[in-house]
Amino acid sequence: MAKTIKIRAKAKNGVTVVKALITHPMETGLRKNKKTGEMIPAHFIQEVVCKHNGKEVINCEWGGSVSKNPYLAFKFKGGKKDDAIELAWKDNKGNGDSISAKIR
């Protein structure tokens, strides 16, 4: 589990900065396989949700035009060292992954 996500959350002056990297091909469905000429089917992350101590702090909807191996950074008020941070994603094929981490 959670091999696809790297997350880092750091609390400073009452604001927590969360940075996450997800490993994912993010195929738009518009690209062609150069050798066979066939279209590569769309495969991209649609939803990313991040929770702090069980409370949602961001909810993203993504399309295929987010880059391969997506990066996400955001900030929220509150949060302190050792609080739980949880991030989960789901793609258009129904696959997903999640990770739990602690704020540093």
Binding site: R31, E56, I58, S67, F74, K77
Partner: protein, 156 residues
Amino acid sequence: MSLNQKRRVFLKGSLAVGALGAAAGLITPGAVLAAWNKNAFTAKSIDEAIAASNGQPVTTPSTDITIKAPDIAENGAVVPVSVATKMKGVDSITLLVEKNSTPLSAVFHLPKGTLPDVSTRVKMGKTGDVIAVVKANGKLFSARKGVKVTIGGCGG
């Protein structure tokens, strides 16, 4: 997001219980978030995409929105974009790429307490504007920034 659409659909199904329907309609946003907004992400024009993701296509240009993106992107497949604003009461930030075949790239729903400051990376097919739409206190504001792409990120 398509709050109004949802409500309309909901009301259609429960016209008989009008008052109840309206009350339930008000609490649907939480449930709406769970469903990926297909209409918005497959929309081919910017107006359609904004309308489908935010309920209406009209936005007010604002100088309070800061878009950080490179002036020239060497690789259109990876264009770092940050959007931040000083506005209060921001519900969501929508990111669009003008020249892509489906302009809508990402929608960030920000619950109370989350700062309106998000960063990600997007693909850009060719040179054009990156548009950020900020929904604050029910109103839509927008800003755009031109990015020159030297190698496209879409298609092969």
